[in-house]
Amino acid sequence: MTDRVLLHTEKIDKSYDGVHALRGVNFDLRAGEVHALVGENGAGKSTLIKIITGAVTPDAGRIELEGEAVTNNSPRVAKALGIAAIYQQPALFPELTVAENIALGLEDTSAWRRIDWKRRRQRAVELLEKIGAKITADEDAGNLSMPQQQLVEIARALGANARILILDEPTASLSDEEIQSLFRVIRQLRDRGVGIIYISHRLEELSAIADRVTVLRDGAVVGTRQVNEIDRPELISMMVGRELSAVFPKQQCDPGAVVLELGGVGSRDNGLNDINLSVRAGEIVGLAGLVGAGRTELARTLFGLQPADAGEIVLDGKLVQIRNPAQAIEHRIACVPEDRRHHGVILDMSISANVTLASLKRLAQWGGFDFERERAMTADYVRRFAIKTPSIFNSVSTLSGGNQQKVALSRWLATNTAVLILDEPTQGIDVGAKAEIHALMSELAAQGMAILMISSELPEILGMSDRIAVMRDGTIAGILNRTEATQEKILALALGHEVGELGS
């Protein structure tokens, strides 16, 4: 790392409708450093990024690039200056090939220019090689996995000679192995003198990848520190402005009768086979494993999205068939999917309509819709879960990620759910809201719900689960009790080592 300052923002101010999104933000990025930017949702990280990339104009303040003031910033200007941003959801065109996608950001865009296909392909291959990505340039971008798509975006940024690379939650949906290879690429770029702004909710990653960290809270900079001089509790208290007594408040409780029992369940389309697992009332069973181990597929099978073709699903002692989500819901199984923003809630509909969407049968008979009850139900959940909104009729798209997730959960609490499947319930959610959702899960379990929780965050799995089922290659590799589980044991099962092999 050098001390050469690449990017400097001076007293940036921005408000929307009288709400201060940023106040007097001073931020430095040096050449050849990874500078982490952390803060709860709504702390102003995204606004700051938007200002740096020119998508938003600040009300006051200056941006300097290597000592020179940037005037009339816009996405085009920022790009020309070598500022590139990569978001959580890769923004590639799925119908175009990798080479075409890379070219889109780089080539002369004049409409009448003839395309030099050979050069285009050549450049894509070189760029991909440079970051060590094993991706074919002729593949359709839509066929790539999420991490591969991210690599393509990084290659594109590299091709544009980016001096500053902004990564917004790049690891949110990656497995540990994929994260490691992404980190390798980031370190390579850093060593080449690129300044990297790294946004993440996963604080445990920071010590592995970041050099410095800046904490934002309520639009203001709380402080900038060397990563190796700060520990996690201190960082969290900087972010939330209060000490978090316990991040994972799962209470010990005595599980009741077995609610859900899987006997040799398999699904050929889903690559699942011989899954044996039981979940008791009041119990949270964590489902751990690498991405691709079949966890989401198991959730989809139980919820009837891709029905099982082998084995038995026993609910409350009765053998059941689940062919579609409507049937699953009839059997009192609920599922909050991973892709919350797309399918967990309906963004365009109001909070109240989302909360009651799965209980319409009870609210609407031929006699008419019970608006009174819908209103009371929604208001009750909004208050109980502290969903931040001025009105229960605002559309869900106006809420932050954590609050959207609370709406998604409310929907299933409103139904008389016996088995709740949660797929990555706190992915991309800030620390404060995360703790609230964890508390909510504990409360639900205490009320007797059987919860199956998929999570890629080991601390979450360890903190929240009564038992932990580790999946590998479409089946259960092992089940650990809360008391005996450790990160090492889970990883060993997930990777396919015997538990004893690693020792401890």
Partner: protein, 333 residues
């Protein structure tokens, strides 16, 4: 949390419908000043009669557009249903049975398209384009273009006096509108229609079965076309074999002008009523004000564009731009 709003009705949620209604009021006001003779009973009655069928079909079209689909075969369905009404009456089927039979014919045609769209997942615009051509040419082939004459004497106006017949048609049209508006708000199916149109996959995950909703809506619009065709046919003493040309465009235009989002999920039947009224009145109003009626279509086109313009101004398409920066960084306030 204090100050949580839980009152249901909020005028600002219906901005778009109110804007269209306001435009209609302005139109009426201009006509009232420039040509007060417009407001005579006979003229208003003709206006209502000429638009009753369009209103009924536009009700169905609103549902179709709300679920994010489109049906451009309604004009051809209308022609088939009109001829069916004539044939049935001529064959001596009692008049009380003609209407239900024609509704069934319409529903059956809707079911053909609906099943292809709902379960085989074919795009509705292409399916209904094909059906539009098929129904109309099959009809031309069967009738050889001949109109149906010598209908039973009690065919026209259901054997009622003209005034009573007209009253009946108007009443049916408005009752249907009110009934569907109530159902959209108050029945589970209504809420499901909005959910499917907003996000079909999310609706499925909430236990709704989108294919069933899609199928039902297409059957419904077919049935409504059947009813509209019957009510329209009894206004005349002969039955044409080429009715309903361009009807699909009129219905879609009325729905869009009334503020229903063409991408689905948002819209109301009140808006559709305003849309039908606005587009239906403009032509007649022009004649009364003394403008060449040849301008009618051009002005209708301009109204549709103005409606879309107000959608853009109100940010109602904000979901659409793909790859837009705003889409991925929603967490910042």
């Amino acid at each position: 949390m204090s100050g949580l709003t839980t009152s249901r009705f909020k005028l600002s949620r219906y901005k778009r419908e109110l804007a269209a209604a306001l435009a209609y009021l302005v139109l009426l006001l201009v006509v009232a000043v420039a040509a007060p003779s417009f407001f005579n009973i006979a003229n208003l009655r003709d206006l209502a009669m000429n638009n009753a069928a369009i209103l009924i079909i536009a009700v169905g079209m609103t549902l179709v557009i709300l679920i994010g689909e489109i049906d451009i075969s309604v004009g051809s369905q209308f022609a088939v249903c009109t001829v069916a009404a004539g044939w049935l009456a001529k064959a001596g089927v009692p008049l009380v049975l003609v209407a239900p039979c024609v509704v069934l014919v319409g529903a059956a045609m809707g079911a053909v398209g609906g099943s292809l769209i709902a379960w085989l997942r074919m795009p509705s615009i292409v399916v209904t384009l094909a059906l539009m051509v098929m129904w109309r040419d099959a009809l031309r082939w069967i009738t050889e273009g001949a109109w149906i004459q010598n209908l039973p004497a009690n065919f026209q106006w259901f054997g009622l006096r003209q005034a009573s017949g007209q009253f009946l048609i108007m009443t049916i049209g408005l009752l249907l509108l009110a009934g569907f508006a109530w159902a959209l708000r108050n029945l589970r199916a209504g809420r499901s229609i909005y959910a499917v149109g907003s996000d079909a996959e999310a609706a499925r995950l909430a236990g709704i079965e989108p294919p069933r909703i899609v199928f039902a809506v297409f059957v419904l619009i077919g049935a409504l076309v059947g009813l509209a065709a019957t009510l329209n046919a009894v206004r005349f003493s002969i039955v044409p074999s080429n009715a309903g040309i361009g009807l699909e465009l009129k219905a879609i235009a009325a729905v869009v002008v009334g503020g229903t989002l063409i991408t689905g999920g948002r819209g109301t039947l009140f808006g559709t009523l305003v849309g039908v009224a606005l587009l239906g009145t403009i032509g007649v109003a022009l004649t009364f004000v003394g403008i060449n009626p040849f301008w009618e279509k051009a002005i209708q086109g301009a109204i549709i564009l103005a409606a879309l313009g107000s959608d853009v101004a109100l940010g109602r398409f904000s979901r659409l731009p793909i790859g837009d920066f705003r889409l991925r960084t929603e967490d910042a306030k």
